[in-house]
């Protein structure tokens, strides 16, 4: 996309706004003293999408978010919002709002005063009736009508969370940044809020950028996920892409669960690679990248893609059932292979009902289909 500086003027600004991505990081590096928190980040955020930064704590995802908000300045590279470089513009000049992990609600203000805070800072001043109209609408959106005069510390965690959301969306920001917004809520409430967040994003059409270490949350909410590790982007794509086609072991491990077997490449044919494991057994799998022969790689297979059967089939490997956990719609088996070690298998409920249930100590066979096996780069 061409985002070369357009000549100054209103019409060109408008042109720029409509064509440029809503935000962009260009070769952004951030160092705190000797620590590099973000390394050469390059990414564009499209208008109206729901993007997640996913990674363990300390991977640089929060730093990326804080650079978009303006709390941190990049050491190198540029942060762009609406096609304009905003490196040096302070947070209060950016058309961006953030929902903090701690919510950061102002304790001395009521719910209504909290939500109207951003609107009241506008210069020239906004009409009072307009402010209260917008606040009422925001309260309606987060289903908190009637709570206007409450003090925020009298409210439950979920309600505080919604006040924090309302306080941000009432300003109709170009970009809504969410820093682990659901981390403090219990599991059930978190599920509810996830659905609400998604509805909200669709309804408002605002671009959401979420930071989370919870892969389930990222998978269920996002249009695109940016997986990070040690300050770098490891892989970026739709939740499906990341789950079905991880490029590295790290991504396969972080997004969903997987079984990994280390081995070396024997031969590569088109997009299939043959891999020899440490015990000499050979498996074929889809190559996620171009591999050389004798390269050390990782075979990966998702627990739900393994079929567990009671009789020896062609190509199946024999295992002993170690443990069985009933999870409702699924049953999780931990099985042990003599040389491959522990393997996790997820069996659907139908299989159990059809009579193929196993108990601890039972012998069983695993069907590892070559379509489900993925050859990944070891990292």
């Amino acid at each position: 996309m061409n985002v070369s500086p357009a000549p100054a003027g209103l019409s060109s600004d408008r042109f720029r706004e409509e064509t440029a991505p809503v935000a962009e990081l260009r070769a952004v590096t951030k160092r705190f003293g000797d620590v590099t928190a973000a390394k050469n980040l390059n990414l564009t955020i499209d208008r109206g999408e729901f993007l997640s930064f996913l990674g363990p704590s300390g991977c640089g995802k929060t730093t990326a978010l804080r650079m978009l908000a303006g709390f941190e300045q990049p050491t190198e590279g540029d942060v762009l919002i609406d096609g304009g470089i905003v490196n040096d513009s302070p947070p209060f000049c950016r058309p961006v709002n953030m929902v903090f992990q701690s919510y950061a609600l102002f304790p001395h203000l009521t719910v209504e005063q909290n939500i109207s805070y951003g609107l009241k800072q506008r210069r020239p001043r906004m009409d009072r009736s307009e402010i209260s109209r917008r606040v009422a609408r925001a309260l309606d959106t987060v289903r908190l009508a009637g709570f206007e005069n409450r003090k925020t510390f009298e409210m439950s965690g979920g309600q505080q969370q919604r006040v924090a959301l309302a306080r941000a969306i009432v300003n109709e920001p170009k970009l809504l940044l969410l820093d682990e917004p659901l981390a403090a809520l219990d599991r059930k409430l978190r599920k509810e809020m996830q659905i609400e967040l998604q509805d909200l994003q669709r309804q408002l059409g605002i671009t959401f950028v979420l930071v989370t270490h919870d892969q389930e949350e990222a998978l269920s909410l996002s249009d695109r996920i940016c997986v990070m590790r040690a300050g770098e982007v490891v892989q970026m794509g739709t939740p499906r892409d990341l789950y079905d086609d991880p490029k590295t072991k790290y991504v396969a491990d972080f997004v969903g669960t997987s079984n990994f077997f280390e081995g070396t490449v024997l031969s590569v044919k088109e997009d299939m690679a043959q891999v020899e494991l440490a015990d000499g057994s050979r498996f074929e799998g889809r190559a996620s990248d171009s591999f050389r022969e004798t390269e050390t790689v990782c075979l990966s297979i998702r627990p739900e893609q393994i079929r567990l059967t009671g009789k020896a089939e062609d190509g199946a490997i024999e295992v002993v059932v170690q443990n069985r956990i009933f999870l409702g719609e699924h049953t999780e088996y931990l099985v042990r292979h003599s040389s491959l070690g522990n393997i996790i298998v997820l069996a659907p409920r139908q299989a159990e009902l059809a009579g193929t249930a196993f108990n601890q100590g039972d012998r069983a066979w695993l069907n590892l289909s070559r379509e489900a096996m993925l050859v990944l780069r070891q990292d």
């Binding site: 209060f92 701690s102 609600l105 102002f106 304790p107 001395h108 805070y117 800072q121």
Partner: protein
């Protein structure tokens, strides 16, 4: 153990209780109780010297507490934004100001001010058009307020600092994120949240200044504060009138201290 504790408390509070008790003495001797009366309270409040001294004390306490609150709050906010050795050094200086005995502050302030005044006064006299009308700096209300402000400012800094550091950094960031300028954030978020601490600091400063004798004794010049008045009258013998004044000062101070404590405690709950 319990007996021992009771003895300690008796030793601490008996003299104060006796002063309060004897302030209601009907007779005029401080050591002989002769019936109950509040006449000494009336006398004390009608005594023009007492009222004069009280006025001076109130004036000094009010002005120095106000100055200490403003300067102390600004110092605390400034220190909060600093990092590294500068902050450590300034923190140290603040605590030293609290720990140094009053008598040292008194003498040091006296010597410093006298030395400076001796240097400046000839210059003022020389520069003034009419030498005989030239102002001459001397010890008095000004030096008293300055010395008290210096001492009590340290208290305000410590109290406000405690409150500031308990505030989440997120709040200031959230305010900036919601388009408030740094001044807007200070005015709308920081100041309201540290206001109770500032008020508590003000009340403490007021009490300390009002009760202070040692520093005032050195730097007051010709001014007489209430503690100085009490001290000089005691030299002529303790009368129930002094007891009455003492009781009133004690009550007023206690009430202010309790209010300050209540403010600080409620602030912790919120």
């Amino acid at each position: 153990m319990r007996v021992y504790a009771i003895c300690v408390y008796l030793f601490l509070y008996m003299p104060i209780a006796i002063i309060a008790l004897f302030s209601f003495n009907a007779g005029r001797h401080a050591s002989q109780l002769q019936g109950f009366s509040v006449q000494w309270y009336g006398r004390a409040l009608k005594n023009p010297f007492v009222m004069d001294a009280l006025q001076t004390s109130l004036m000094v306490a009010l002005v120095s507490a106000l100055l200490a609150s403003v300067l102390g709050t600004l110092t605390a906010i400034g220190l909060q934004g600093m990092r590294g050795p500068v902050r450590v050094i300034f923190d140290g200086i603040i605590y030293i100001a609290i720990m140094i005995p009053g008598i040292v502050i008194g003498i040091a302030t006296l010597i410093a001010l006298v030395t400076v005044f001796d240097q400046i006064n000839p210059w003022l006299a020389a520069l003034w058009p009419e030498a005989s009308e030239a102002p001459s700096l001397s010890m008095g209300m000004g030096s008293l307020i300055a010395a008290h402000t210096m001492f009590t400012m340290a208290l305000v800094v410590v109290i406000v600092r405690a409150r500031l550091s308990s505030l989440e950094r997120d709040l200031a960031e959230a305010s900036a994120d919601l388009y408030a300028t740094p001044f807007g954030t200070f005015w709308q978020i920081t100041l309201p949240l540290i206001a109770p601490a500032i008020l508590a600091g003000f009340l403490l400063s007021f009490t300390f200044s009002f009760d202070d004798f040692i520093i005032a004794f050195f730097v007051a010049g010709s001014e007489t504060t209430l503690p100085i008045y009490i001290f000089s009258s005691i030299r002529r013998g303790v009368t129930p009138e002094i007891n009455a004044i003492g009781t009133m000062v004690m009550l007023a101070s206690l009430i202010l201290l309790i209010i300050a404590q209540l403010i600080l405690r409620r602030e912790h709950k919120a």
